[in-house]
Symmetry: C2
Subunit: 768 residues, 2 copies
């Protein structure tokens, strides 16, 4: 069943009513994060029902030993796993001698969760009758601070309804946690110090093997009837857990409150010996501000994010809620401050998928971050890959490539490969092209060329070398071919001449050579350094150029389309429309061989290439390829519909564009794939943003300028979005009547609208 | 390093000198088996050095939970694993208060092992000086009885050399054993009863999940100076182990002997409640005969096997030893008495590879068993697959096939699939064709058609249905294609139109239809039963015929050869000769993607088809295909060289044929692949037999008659082999001078020699 229990609301995610079956799903949906850490919406108090506990620290991982059925040469020995971190949110609550546990109490009423996306906080409230007959109302509010990103804050309030009661709050820290996802039931954390002082406590622990040290800390404030108390806690310490007990006599109708500040300081950001001091300092700073003041800062910080990133939709609350949820989650996951971090496919909402970084970042997320943040953020994302270049070269060496050829991993945390299916790890090599494309895309959008001589060209050379070595010459075809690959459509494995891969390979080599020339001419110092480092010579460049020039592309004269791969036309070309619905999703219903020999496309493949290189094809060509491939596309990847949506819009097929848009925007909120309990689909959320801005809004970069072809689904009254373009913010408002632009900046901007040049002056509304 | 320490000998495998590094390899090489059970050459006495313990019972397996990195629909949940069974051979020995342990003693001299293949026994002898300074000589002789196939016998003799000593023999049974190969460290055996009585003891245990019950029993006889003693043992019993201690005062120069009869009775062959009685009875029978008499029976039984199966080579001791080792091991593994059993790739010599049955049986082993045993043996091997037909249909259903289509598993014990790599499990479907081919081959050789109406046709129909459904129609080619397969050459995965697979599919359908017609006309009762059971109708038959008729075969006009698969000519066609030796074996040096896009062939593929259907092609065609494919074949499967050897001989290239022959005949004896410690390559041993009989001897069946084209490697003086053909034994002797035939039988036989008809009368030597 789809879980569509979320109440429609423009700015909040709201759940009403308590259902144990929904707990794990809601734990994902109501997750909070601040780019540095994240927290699933687990209850603070004890819960003995089914739950999936998750606290995550950005950049902290564990190299779990690889598990495969049959080992193949080249597989990574270990791969980085997202780690469940020590629990800092726990607050056990005892009421009249009975432990509060929503799974075991007599009744729960008025249960409500709200994730306020506008202001960046999460609240849960309910009335509960315990088995001892006592009734209380509970309200818990929490957030992870954007300002102090090592701190989370919880305000947990209990108000007796039926009678005066004794309430015992036991805020605790617990490092005795486990991962749901572990290959060998390894223990991931080693705890080596627990201490407390007054209302504070901390635990020092480190990850096994990777030796990340973390100080998990807490500082509690206790209030009775909104007045601070000075009760001193009782302390319980075990091997991995420290608990502080506060006992309060609470009159009926009055409220007992614990405010708990907690969080992590980690050795990624501090010296190991300073972790405790740093933790104490930041918790002290938070507590001195107080919960409410810190929350005000939070609201303010989120308001600034929304100013740049919001998309407002008029006339469709569910669509509005959907797009804001996506934008909110992307910002909870990655804020671009730290080039060591990246955008995990589940963000801070679950453990599934080892590693944090896929080609999703380069192909889908960078456009979002470029347009909604300062351009340093996208540059940080590029730098992340630059920092992994050595590892990418090692990775290619494992597969037999030489001479500085680089193959970026399919999935990674620290630059090492985290995946181990040969058809993906060794063959889904198109990912390498996305790295070069992202550099190109960054330059095209920001106009900042400096990244290329400084860092980008080295990456491009490693990648061009890879393609040069990976292509082989077919005497039979008198062309270079690329054999044995998996394209973006992962429902084909080990195929020959995947059009997308071949096209990207050719383009990567050509773009690299073009930039070698430019850097040689215009940045001679950088050029010297790069040539010295890479040992790139004329002969190699010429050989590369030769591969690009003579690259083979499968093409059907009959259909006048590029073929997804050699032999595509040998398939039984039955369209998705003619496929019995009981057979879908095919990845759940069919064995792998059946999927492979079918014509069905998991995710845009040839069309992905048309999306990335739209300028190289006519609109008529796009239409023909769209008509050929769309009928076979099952969109069983969350990354697929956005590309089709953008192309349908470009082809003026707005109904279709809107249908594709709907498939992604509420994917998690309505739990289409019945798996939201495992976590959210973070990276595909950027695709939803693209569907609106690039699809409906028609945003492109043409001749160094912004270009729009605004369209609007007939279901909407209007929508607005903002674009940060070279340090000026352009606000775009599209309605059924027309489009208006408003520039926040200080210099005139020339844009194209439907191909026509428009001059926009700062702070002047222009309507078309 | 190759381990070529085995001494050349015509009839025995001999090792001299003790080397701890060789212990595990020798444990494999000196393994014994009697078709019902098997035993690695582990020491009877305690050994604390590196060892791989293995006792095996035919047909007893454990369904280990499947382990894969990423699950695919259709994988088997569990797969059958070869099980290490309770230890019955153990005899701890204490000499002068010190435990005998060759890993810890002061010195070992005159260490010698002999596996006497002519007579079917294994002996180990040595002199040892213990750390207490005492020197003794030890000799242990053991065999697994062919006559009483639930019994093994050991004669273990200790003779003090330096002084009189106290010797304590502790023969024991131990069910507390483990498997080297287990996915989840599961416990495989549950022991529920241990008992002793006088000189006998037994353990009852059962396998977890599969519930095979086994009674492991022993009966000991103690001798001093060759005289039976009546000392009564002390008994030690633990949870899984029962030990009997015998203490003897042995004068210098005299011999203390324990004769231990042991073995298994299992619930496959007895009622569960009768296991102990059956065990006691058979051990009593053995002990009443006595060790020597039982050994005489053993020699006699092996002599009968050799009478039919021996190949004698004159002028090359190592070749002689090699081929006899192969024939010996095949007979130790499978004797054809029980249609529930099959020929495991490691026989009873190791645990590697789950399951016992591969297409090796049908493609390589059946010819050996047909020619060297009564024809009921080959029929039993066919019946094994008939008994698994229901499971093969279920297996096909898991992959989406319907209506009684059958897909035999890649690897199996009980009919269920035991493998879990999608490119093998789901795609190496050519195995299915081998089942039909074996039926055809059996009929061709034995002339016994009765198997087809009784059992074979049902199997053929299930298989033909599979091919019918598995082929798809390519509008582009106007032909039926078979997409996404792995051929016999496993260095190509998920390829389209593997010539061998397509050819076999077409042939299976045609041969099935041919037999439907024949059975309809000649066996109307069987026909009725089969049609009723299979619900096969005219329409389906016609549709099948259509697929066969319009099957596509990739062909190169330029090279005038069938292509191994679509796109083969796109590869960089660098021959093995031009491949740097440091790159080989490629399966150890290269990552999987590199292997896949290379032209290198692991094992005969197109040529395998030419081998099976030789009659359908001219010698000129064979030569052309051989010349095209052989240069790309790396023979990294032990099953490959035999086919090339046979074809080289057919093409009169005897030097090449001999080179290929050498690659297999001593594969294990000389440990080419440095892995003999894991067990022997049993099934490929049948290929070595084929290389001589079908290759050098040129044996074929033509027009219902035996046909020969005898050739001889120039390195040999002569060779002889025997062929059981339709209940008469033809002895063939090939020398550099000519070939002679001698028929043991009672009716005249017409054979072809080099195409000419020859009449052979019984017991008349004919020389050509």
């Amino acid at each position: 069943m789809n879980q569509d229990y979320v109440k429609p609301d423009n700015w909040s995610i709201i759940e009403e009513g308590f259902d144990v079956e929904r707990v794990k799903s809601s734990e994902s949906l109501f997750s909070i994060g601040n780019g540095a850490m994240g927290q699933r919406a687990n209850f603070e108090e004890m819960y003995s029902g089914p739950t999936f506990q998750g606290s995550y620290i950005a950049g902290v991982y564990y190299p779990d030993k690889t598990r495969v059925g049959w080992w193949k040469n080249g597989y990574p020995e270990y791969f980085a796993k997202v780690l469940n971190a020590p629990n800092w949110i726990g607050i056990n609550v005892e009421i009249g001698g009975e432990k509060l546990d929503l799974f075991k109490c007599k009744s729960v009423t008025n249960f409500r969760r709200e994730l306020n996306m506008k202001e960046g906080w999460y609240q849960r409230s309910f009335n509960v009758v315990l088995t001892n007959g006592i009734e209380v109302s509970v309200k818990s509010t929490r957030f992870l601070s954007l300002d102090l990103d090592e701190v989370g804050a919880i305000k947990y309030e209990v108000t007796p309804i039926s009678q005066d009661v004794e309430v015992v709050f036991t805020p605790y820290l617990d490092a005795g946690i486990t991962n749901e996802d572990t290959n060998w039931d390894d223990k991931f954390w080693d705890t080596y110090d627990l201490a407390h002082k007054g209302n504070t406590a901390h635990i020092l622990s480190k990850t096994m093997k990777t030796d990340f040290h973390a100080c998990t800390g807490m500082l509690n404030q206790i209030f009775l009837d909104e007045k601070a108390t000075d009760i001193y806690p009782k302390v319980e310490i075990s091997n991995t857990c420290v608990k502080l007990n506060y006992t309060l006599e609470v009159p009926k109708g009055k409220t007992a409150t614990v405010v708990k500040f907690g969080g992590y300081t980690v050795s990624l950001n501090h010296k190991e010996e300073d972790l405790v001091t740093a933790s104490s300092a930041v918790l002290k700073q938070a507590s001195e501000s107080g919960f409410e003041a810190l929350l005000d800062l939070q609201k303010n910080a989120w308001s600034k994010i929304w100013e740049m990133a919001d998309i407002a939709i008029d006339g469709d609350v569910k669509a509005q809620q959907g797009i804001r949820f996506n934008i909110f989650q992307l910002n909870q996951t990655y804020l671009g401050k730290d080039a060591r971090l990246n955008i995990g496919p589940k963000g801070f909402t679950g453990e599934k998928y080892g590693g944090s970084t896929y080609w999703d970042t380069e192909a889908y997320c960078i456009p979002f971050y470029m347009a909604t943040k300062d351009q340093v953020v996208a540059r940080n994302l590029l730098t992340y890959r630059y920092q992994h270049l050595e590892k990418a070269i090692e990775n290619a060496e494992k597969l037999g490539f030489t001479n500085g050829a680089a193959l970026y991993p399919m999935v990674t945390m620290n630059g090492e490969e985290c995946h181990n299916e040969w058809e993906i790890t060794f063959e889904e090599i198109h990912r390498n092209g996305a790295m070069t494309f992202a550099i190109y895309n960054y330059h095209r959008y920001t106009g900042d060329y400096s990244y290329i001589p400084e860092k980008g060209l080295e990456v491009m050379i490693g990648i061009a070398r890879f393609w040069h070595q990976r292509a082989t010459f077919s005497t039979d075809k008198d062309k270079y071919v690329i054999l044995g690959v998996t394209g973006p459509n992962e429902y084909e494995n080990n195929i020959n001449n995947n059009w997308y891969t071949n096209y990207l390979a050719k383009w990567c080599i050509e773009y690299c050579i073009e930039n070698i020339t430019k850097v040689k001419e215009e940045y001679s110092n950088d050029y010297k350094r790069i040539i010295e480092k890479t040992k790139l010579g004329e002969e190699e460049i010429n050989a590369m150029a030769q591969v690009a020039e003579k690259m083979y592309f499968p093409y059907s004269e009959k259909h006048q389309v590029y073929l997804q791969q050699d032999g595509f036309l040998d398939k039984e070309l039955i369209t998705v429309a003619d496929l019995d619905k009981s057979q879908r999703p095919i990845n759940q219903k069919w064995s792998w061989d059946r999927i492979l020999r079918s014509p069905y496309i998991k995710q845009a493949d040839v069309l992905q290439g048309f999306y990335m290189f739209e300028d190289k094809f006519t609109s008529e060509e796009l239409g023909r390829h769209f008509d050929f491939y769309e009928p076979f596309t099952v969109h069983e990847s969350s990354l697929s519909p956005c590309v089709h949506s953008i192309q349908a819009a470009a082809l003026d097929r707005m109904d279709q564009a809107y249908t594709f848009y709907l498939r992604t925007s509420r994917l998690d909120l309505d739990d289409y794939n019945k798996e939201v309990e495992e976590g959210l689909h973070i990276t595909s959320m950027a695709g939803t943003w693209m569907s609106i801005v690039e699809g409906f809004g028609g945003l492109r970069i043409k001749n160094d300028r912004l270009s729009f072809s605004p369209k609007i689904p007939k279901e909407w009254k209007g929508y607005t979005f903002n674009v940060n373009f070279r340090n000026q913010i352009l606000k775009v408002n599209v309605s059924q009547e027309g489009t208006s632009f408003n520039l926040e900046g200080n210099q005139e901007l020339i844009i194209y609208v439907d191909g026509k040049e428009i001059n926009i002056s700062p702070d002047t509304l222009i309507t078309i």
